[in-house]
Symmetry: C2
Subunit: 492 residues, 2 copies
């Protein structure tokens, strides 16, 4: 679709709608490298707001940032048995360090530059980081280590989808080292809480915090915690994970510490991450058939001011007033943009709506006379007049309302489409309509795989809240005693 | 060296001193991947302060951030003839996208996953970005494009040195597209100015803005501008570059636009960047034989508060007072840390001095009684008592003084060691002592190469200020009429 084409409606084709929203807002493009995307400025600015807020939350909880190498020797991957199973399969492998002129033009890898040991472009950094931790950790005094890294990672994906699944993506990965199991488990849960709060406060996204079943666990983890969000079509999207790694990586890389009592023990580990797929989550949770809808917290432009004039005399007055509006809002940290391009107001409205700007302030000659602006919310409702006097507070309140409304709307949707099917058959019947299916479940990887095969639904998580409900109930699938309450859903 | 060993003195071994300072401050480590470093939290925090400040300067001058893929198809490199010469030589080449179990254990690249076209890990992103610009630019209305990217890049280096030359490093690369040559040249110079201001304000680093000779130009540029800084041993360090690329990349990737007059023309380009090597520049410009010295602007910790007590009763009072000190400074944006570890004050002082903390506030029982702290500057001078009342302002003023002193000291050194040798022989005699050698020069690549071979000195730049001085003078090397004033120096 071209940047001016209308967006396909959700009802017509949900998948195409998603791509159209991205294109119409100018968020990302596919690149000439298979499965790798270009994050365009409007999309990247969303990421910057997410990143800055998360970074602050990480620092407030005692974490610091560092940077580890992009390349990992292949032998490192093999050191943790499950990890290599999970990550060695599809990854980018560097085998040469030089190009040479090719016969017939162009360049090619120089055979003389073949590496003794190939390098993998990091799909995740546990192995290289635990190698380094082995050098840094000697005693209990060196613990805990609470390090986070903002980085790009590569996982060679065959079937890609902008933001949701691309061969390269941006993320943060926290990697912490602790003296005790209890402390590591506490860290794992704490960071899950940070993610859940972030999703609610910044993305206006209600999420279910839970635990993954064994088959959905991170390769090398003892326990994977996650937050699961519901998209408008009722599909699930894993929005963040936090892993309790036990002593697996400490053992693989032989990282021990001297305890206060003088004994030597292996270190306990966690890792946790969120990625640019959150941008996809926000798009799919809030946008509509016109295009992108953004929570004000992460909107690159929160307020656009659009002047309207006919005569040159009007133009002078209107633009002067618009400048006043901008000067009023900016010092209050409101991200405001004046669109004074010489084009029809309707075309401007269309463009900014598709870019998801939460609030538009129209300024015509009549508004100037009244000393006010005419405000239109991206989320709808009646347009309203706002006085220039006290405008910053009025606008701030309006943005807060939009933010709260988006969350309330998403939460209502989430609740309305969380079902408690009486039976497996009932879930199968309802699955095409989307939604989360909360059921009593007897933990069983074989049955889980069978259900996935039959329905394309997977266990998204065992929600942390509400597990008590499983007591005394029978599994909706096998009839055996329930071990958990589980959420099944189709997922991105 | 271990983290507790003393730092080698500059006089004894300048190169070892540099590595010792890094190690003693815990800034970076070598990694198991050849030539790739790990930036440790204290070093990374310095980078964060640099990055945030630069990012603000870029945004204030109208730039936005975006993100382009890590991988570049090898054929792209070949499209710009000079560019491929400069960058195809030593780079990481991805040839496979999957590993498989190897006979005898471990994993190896799966031959079945060989890529049709190898990918290069970006050494710089002109080619992939100009490919994308080709899709985004149709008309003069799409111009200018003012995009910056924060990213990691890889250049396979044989001889590495922490921060200064590593196979992977972090940087920003600005890539702009313009309708006219004049506008692109203006952008090139503007960004050079941004770098020079940043170096002065944030790094306390005096720099010489200049133009590179043809042989030192960026591969693919018509003109390369740079800022050159002088290290304490008198060697030069290129601290940032800004390139006017003309229409080279637009032609290589066939990027044209429709002008206002309806004709089609190739787009004009610039690119500009600074990297984590700036951390190396800061270390070498300001540190001393004790260890790291940091300008307060980029110091991860600006003020450390060190309590001193003997009895438990004293400890309670002293720690309560220290908490007040921290609570007084923090709200003013001063990065303050309380070191209440149970160890000898002297050992703490030593540790924080080596970490480059600009100001230490000692608090003992007597200070508590007097309602004051005892302040020691990392840069020396008499310790002074500072009252708790008004402490934030006193500390801020002190930090500003330290910052100004560092710049003044570096500038004095820079000026004292900028020489105007009468002859080539005089420069050769003086070169081992280090310094910048400002001479009248007749532009000549052959002579330049010969001087480099004989003396290891290169033309750092033709300084922008002072070119008029060349008029009527003769080249210090050839005796021919001078075309430029040139700075020769040995360089990192």
């Amino acid at each position: 679709m071209s940047q001016d084409s209308p967006v396909t409606s959700r009802a017509t084709d949900y998948s195409q709608w998603y791509l159209d929203v991205i294109s119409a807002a100018g968020l990302a493009d596919y690149s000439p490298v298979k499965g790798a995307m270009v994050i365009r400025p409007h999309g990247y600015a969303m990421w910057e707001h997410m990143r800055d807020d998360l970074d602050r939350r990480f620092k407030d909880t005692g974490h610091v940032n560092a940077y580890f190498p992009l390349f990992i020797p292949v032998s490192f991957l093999s050191k943790e048995a499950e990890h290599v199973e999970g990550f060695a399969k599809e990854c980018a492998v560097v085998t040469h360090h030089r190009l040479r002129a090719a016969e017939g033009g162009g360049v090619e890898p120089d055979p003389a530059s073949k590496l003794e040991e190939p390098l993998v472009v990091r799909p995740t950094s546990e192995t290289i980081i635990w190698h380094m931790y082995g050098q840094w950790i000697q005693s209990y005094r060196d613990l805990p280590i609470l390090i986070n890294q903002w980085a790009n990672v590569v996982r060679w994906e065959m079937k890609t989808r902008l933001f949701l699944r691309t061969s390269e993506f941006l993320w943060q990965e926290g990697h912490t080292a602790h003296a005790t199991s209890a402390e590591a488990v506490e860290e794992t849960k704490k960071m899950l809480g940070v993610y859940a709060d972030f999703a609610k406060d910044m993305l206006a996204l209600p999420v279910v915090p839970g635990v993954k079943s064994a088959s959905e666990r991170f390769a090398g983890a003892l326990e994977t915690f996650c937050i699961e969000a519901m998209m408008q079509n009722g599909w699930a999207l894993q929005a963040g994970t936090s892993h309790f790694l036990g002593q697996n990586f400490a053992k693989a890389f032989d990282v021990t510490f001297q305890t206060q009592e003088g004994t030597r023990e292996h270190v306990w580990a966690t890792s946790w991450g969120v990625s640019t797929r959150l941008i996809g989550a926000v798009i799919m949770a809030h946008s509509d058939d016109t295009g992108l809808v953004l929570p004000p917290t992460i909107a690159p432009v929160q307020v656009v001011v659009t002047p309207i004039w006919k005569s040159d005399a009007e133009k002078v007055d209107v633009l002067a007033f618009c400048a006043q509006v901008v000067a009023t809002l900016k010092p209050h940290g409101i991200r405001v943009k004046l669109d004074d391009r010489d084009m029809k107001p309707g075309a401007k409205y269309y463009e900014w709506e598709r870019k998801g700007v939460p609030l538009r302030l129209e300024v015509g000659p009549r508004d100037v006379k009244q000393g006010s602006v005419f405000a239109a919310s991206r989320t709808g409702g009646k347009k309203e007049s706002m006085a220039l006097e006290g405008l910053a507070a009025t606008v701030r309140a309006k943005l807060d309302t939009i933010q709260a409304d988006l969350y309330a709307r998403a939460l209502a949707h989430h609740e309305a489409r969380t079902f408690r099917p009486e039976s497996y058959a009932a879930m199968k019947d309802a699955l095409d309509g989307g939604g989360f299916f909360l059921v009593p479940w007897h933990d069983d990887a074989v049955a889980e795989a069978k259900i996935k095969e039959e329905t394309r639904a997977t266990i998204r998580c065992y929600p942390i809240d509400g597990q008590a409900e499983a007591a005394g109930r029978t599994c909706f699938y096998s009839g055996r005693p329930a071990t958990h309450m589980a959420i099944f859903a189709r997922a991105y």
